[in-house]
């Protein structure tokens, strides 16, 4: 195993890892054993190395949208931002090799290897009036064999989802990890002049407004099913917690306590909600049933206790408290108590989000007058700063892979959302156009 003793980075594409995972939990993982055989590749990768993957244009057997380039752009974005692949970038050479293959009617493995590729994705698609389909075969070039072949079908306007599913399948087959290409991000935008909750694909496409508020909708938080989003709504002179159904747009009221009804975090099992209420005269953290009933107070202090979020196992809560005089990240049991402080650097640490892997909490930290995104290791207290430039950033939210983060950054008076691989630290802008884009929440 090249997977080291106490590595903080997850292992990159590694055949042995998949086999080992299957061996460890033999009873559960029969499908994985089968998969492990799928990926008995001839490549082996050390830690941090990426697999080089080539994607020639998929020919279309029909006409109309999308263009082959559109399909490839989506797939290359997915693969190159998965964290596991380097895309062979000289697309002219890639397409020339593909033409040669088609002319000869066979795959010239040597030519593809000479381009630096290790994995080759070949496909074709057709977009009709009623259906889109995509057929692909993924090849291990050194082994000179096909690893898997799949066909995806969708409605014509659902082709991006089909391409994302293909990317996630490639990631799963080759690494054993779940990809994030099929995930979504909820966020707040004031593009209409009113702050509303929206949802989009993780790559920024298919942006869609979910709420129709008279005042504003803020602080979206996903239910783990991905079907509903809780958010704070202003109704008349009250703040309330509502939930919106992502498919139908139907909303329902969950809470309407006096004062704050904010920062809802739905538990990993979907049964409970943490939120900040001030109904007892001070902002404190409460635990409720997910229908908004049975509010139970968890914190008792004269300071501000706020912005709660669950640990992925549901047993602990990260939150902000200014009991030390300044806002700092704290952790307590999910049954309540005083908890303990986990951030000690800086004087303004807020908006904690617990990584789905359980080890890190991402948060916003004011450093030299600028709000930056950091992580703190819950056990060791080690702080890692993820962003550096002088723009204000806030509200990190984790992708389900525990490797990617989305946050908002303000530039020239306008806020946009950025995707960040916490190991590569090169942010990708996801939003554009009029208005601010804020408070991102990544689906589970």
């Amino acid at each position: 195993m090249t997977e080291g003793k106490s590595r903080t980075r997850p292992p990159v594409l590694l055949v042995l890892r998949v086999v080992a995972a299957a061996a460890i939990s033999m009873a559960l993982v029969l499908p994985v054993v089968a998969r492990a055989q799928d990926v008995r590749l001839s490549i082996e990768k050390g830690f941090g190395e990426k697999v080089r993957i080539a994607v020639p244009l998929f020919p279309s057997t029909g006409a109309g949208e999308p263009e082959p380039e559109g399909i490839r752009d989506v797939l290359l974005f997915d693969l190159s931002h998965s964290g596991y692949f380097d895309v062979v970038e000289n697309l002219e050479f890639v397409d020339e090799a593909e033409r040669d293959d088609r002319a000869s009617g066979r795959i010239d493995f040597a030519e593809w290897l000479a381009l630096g590729a290790e994995i080759l994705v070949k496909g074709k698609f057709q977009s009709g009036l009623s259906e889109f389909w995509l057929e692909v075969t993924v090849h291990d070039l050194e082994g000179g064999r096909a690893i898997f072949a799949k066909r995806y079908t969708s409605a014509p306007d659902g082709w991006r989802a089909a391409v994302h599913a293909l990317s996630d399948e490639i990631v799963k087959r080759l690494t054993g990890e779940d990809g994030i290409a099929g995930t979504r991000i909820a966020f707040v935008s004031n593009a209409t002049g009113t702050k509303e909750v929206y949802v989009m694909d993780y790559d920024g496409a298919n942006r869609r407004r979910l709420t129709r508020e008279s005042q504003m909708a803020i602080y979206p938080g996903w239910f783990p099913s991905g079907e509903r989003i809780a958010y704070t709504s202003y109704r008349g002179p009250r703040q309330e917690l509502h939930a919106v159904d992502v498919s139908s747009g139907a909303t329902s009221r969950l809470t309407a306590f006096p004062g704050l009804n904010a920062f809802a975090s739905v538990s990993p099992d979907g049964r409970e909600i943490l939120m900040t209420l001030s109904r007892d005269g001070n902002p404190e953290i409460y635990r409720l049933r997910s229908d908004g009933t049975s509010a139970r107070r968890l914190t008792y202090g004269r300071s501000t206790e706020s912005s709660p979020c669950w640990s992925p196992d549901g047993r602990r809560i990260a939150f902000v408290s200014d009991r030390s005089g300044r806002p700092q990240i704290h952790v307590m049991n999910s049954t309540g108590g005083t908890g303990e402080r986990v951030t000690f650097q800086g004087y303004h640490n807020t908006t904690p989000e617990w990584s789905p892997r359980g080890d890190l909490i991402a948060y916003t930290s004011q450093i030299e007058g600028v709000f930056q995104i950091c992580t703190v290791d819950v056990e060791t207290g080690e702080v890692t700063r993820l962003t550096t430039d002088r723009r204000h950033k806030e509200d990190p939210s984790w992708a389900p892979d525990g490797r990617h983060i989305v946050y908002s950054a303000k530039s020239g008076g306008k806020s946009d959302l950025y995707l960040l691989d916490i190991y590569e630290k090169e942010p990708v802008k996801l939003t554009s156009g009029a208005g601010d884009y804020l408070s991102p929440a990544w689906s589970r």
């Binding site: 002179p237 004062g259 704050l260 904010a262 001030s278 706020s306 902000v320 303004h348 908006t351 408070s439």
Partner: protein, 176 residues
Amino acid sequence: MRRGVVLLLVVAFAAGVVFGLSGCAGRKPTEEPVVEPEVSEETDALTGEDIPLPDVDDTVFVEPLSPEFENIHFEFDRYDIRPVDEPILESIASWLEQHEDVKVLIEGHCDERGTNEYNMALGEQRALAARRYLVSLGVEAQRLSTISYGEERPLDPRSTEEAWAKNRRAHFTVSD
């Protein structure tokens, strides 16, 4: 009926304010420009049409006239009441004493600095601090509700010290 009494009181109060103001302004004759009606050749065409009289009860008293309470302000990142604002809170408390049926909504606001979530909690603390102060002056707690707008509703959208100082405020309105 009770609502009607409240409305009358509020109207009476507002009238008093207006009367007082005009008294202060003195009796300087105002020069209003006289607008000459435009005479058209085709006046006959504009005879108009009779419509039913509006229901007075529904239209005249749609919104209760509420007094304009002064805002109180806060230091950066603080929510304690400044001594300079105590007279404002005292005047609100004594007004509430004279208008026992009226309830007040206290809005807490922040400047744009700090994270959005932090400011939402801070705005609530400002509203709660004003509420506690009014309660300490004898106002019943259940007549005072709070709402935080965090940094969402600045009075002055600029990013200057002057604007920020204006935006760090608690605002008082009569609620139902």
